[in-house]
Symmetry: C2
Subunit: 371 residues, 2 copies
């Protein structure tokens, strides 16, 4: 039988994720598989938790890498924290905010949403007004909206909730490891992320962290979590305590990769990592502007790790992406939802974020647009 894996090309992944995987993370993936109750593996699990806490700036004991991709992280937070009829406010300015509305509605929440123009951030004053009208048991927002390249004001939204009973849920799929997250300082009660963005690990793991308040809400539920696989009230007993209780077989090798990926970020130093992301972002924007291209998002709300570029009139955006991939072995992303056909998304996430890669994508894009 032909082995199709022999023909997998090496692609420079500069889309919205997955990003390029760090060479040490590839090595970690192929480390000998251990049993999910092996003491050596349990020790690695402890380190995964500690490294995650460092990057998120949290002391939360309930900090667990869920066995699924970023969307499983979203599902985890909602299914554990919502009961039928709970009043939920979702701030939406992109595909992933919209997905939150879908997830929460399916779970029987009474969902209100505040929408903002895609490509612009959440307006904090509008949220403050909405919070005066009604009491919510949970407010959710995306920190780094992957579909638009916008950074939402996560700290400011958190400040509005101070002293309230409303739980604060933050999507950090595209922010973790790329821009600062201060979970405890911002008053975030629940947070999820993904392995395949600024952590430079393949997709498949979703870090989740719950504050003491969120854990209390979970343990005080009137009904069982309607999702056995993602029930954190059981999963925490596998991730902490002297006696670990088996829940489901953990994805051992993906967790090795996650351990390695988190360690690389912490070893580089968080400030250094964020500075590198910002420097390469500025280099990219400068080059794009020199080519006459425009960025969708206003400067102060831009994500350094995800750059939305407006497709110039008369340019076939799909043809440019196809040529970048086939001729230059560079992948960039298309627009999603309301922005389909209107933007490209250029990722500078984790290991991908280097001056060399910025130069490569600028050169290739120039060649593809000019004819």
């Amino acid at each position: 039988m032909v082995n199709k894996l022999e023909n997998v090309p090496e692609i420079l992944l500069m889309g919205p994720g997955p990003s390029c995987v760090h060479p040490e993370v590839y090595k970690a993936l192929a480390v000998s598989t251990l049993g999910h109750m092996d003491p050596v593996f349990l020790d690695i699990m402890d380190s995964i938790k500690e490294l995650t806490q460092i990057i998120l700036n949290t002391k939360n004991r309930c900090t667990v890498p869920m066995s699924g991709t970023g969307s499983a992280g979203m599902e985890t937070c909602f299914v554990n924290l919502i009961e039928k009829g709970d009043k939920v406010l979702i701030l939406e300015n992109g595909v992933f905010g919209r997905r939150m509305i879908d997830v929460a509605t399916r779970l029987g929440a009474e969902v209100d949403s505040l929408s903002f123009k895609w490509g612009t951030p959440v307006i904090v004053e509008d949220v403050a007004k909405k919070l005066k009208e009604k009491d919510y048991s949970l407010l959710a927002v995306v920190h780094a909206e992957t579909s638009t390249g916008v950074r939402n004001p996560a700290a400011e939204i958190g400040a509005l909730l101070k002293g309230k009973d409303t739980l604060y849920l933050l999507d950090t799929v595209t922010s973790m490891g790329g821009i600062e997250i201060r979970m405890d300082d911002w008053g975030v009660d629940a947070l999820y992320s993904g392995s395949q963005k600024c952590l430079s690990c393949p997709p498949g793991i979703a870090p989740v962290s719950f504050s003491e308040r969120a854990v209390k809400k979970l343990l005080d539920r009137k009904t069982k979590v309607p999702n056995w696989y993602l029930d954190l009230s059981m999963i925490i007993h596998y991730w902490e305590g002297a006696k670990r209780v088996y829940h489901h077989t953990a994805p051992i090798n993906m967790l090795y990769a996650m351990y390695q990926a988190l360690a690389i970020v912490v070893d580089e130093g968080l400030d250094n990592t964020y500075r590198r992301h910002m420097d390469n972002h500025k280099l990219l924007v400068k080059g794009l502007e020199e080519m006459g291209l425009k960025i969708l998002v206003e400067e102060k709300y831009r994500l350094p790790e995800l750059n939305s570029v407006i497709v110039p009139e008369g340019v076939d955006e799909a043809a440019v992406r196809a040529r970048l991939l086939s001729e230059f072995k560079i992948e960039i992303g298309a627009g999603l939802g309301d922005l389909a056909g209107k933007i490209w998304r250029i990722g500078l996430m984790g290991y991908t974020s280097s001056p060399e890669n910025v130069t490569a994508v600028l050169k290739a894009l120039k060649a593809c647009i000019s004819k």
Copy 2:
């Protein structure tokens, strides 16, 4: 920082899974990550589907590796096929049958269960009687009960449902690749499995297959699937058709590993694979009996890939397992639930199933029991 991955020992995994990973599968894990919409990756996805269909003996178009472990496969089947108030019959003779009851109940099904003594198979006549009393929209059973080592009569149970509207759901986590599965011939409507048993791939992927009848039930639902992440009605549009629709970012490298693992089984030939499992099982049982040990399950219901051994009186079962692991680098499993402390579970799954490994575990077990 100390890299804990450098200290991971090579363990002979002879427990209930994960099993030893095939060397080619380790290589596959570390192949360059592609984007989830890359045409080369989409082509590998097609092969994963075809190889899965071959091993399951099914023509089902809806054959998809879910982005989670085996338990996510269980969750997927129930959450897509059950609506609140549906009448479900679950046949239970072990931990995983019991887990099905929990999963289905959380989803609001009206669950009846028929329990059988752990270590013995489902009695087909009892099921026939139960089916005469009431109409069920779904009947579920575990094919290879990992907690006991029992093979349930999947074909015979399927025959009882012929001509009925009841959907037939089968757990094949520990059977896939170890014993024959004839999904279409047995009338199975929905099935899930796991990557880390007889497929010799690390944990993290759950193959799922739905018959046309199951897909119709899914598409005719009155309510949306209350789990966005596992909603097959959306996920199938990523796995088939000319235009693939993004749902969530697929776990690329785990899917490479799954492709490789499935290809190895198909390359060996299904009959050869099953014969190898049976031959090594017989070798193990012979050796265990020569040591005076007894197998929990009656001969004709034994799983070749999972052998439940009764712990002899006066032997500290946990101490034996600990010594096997530390001194001989061999992992075997403990009993679960009702069988905790009473049995060991010795897996001979996939790549682990070889005469050399049988010899190794027999020799080590002898040494650990004798003093």
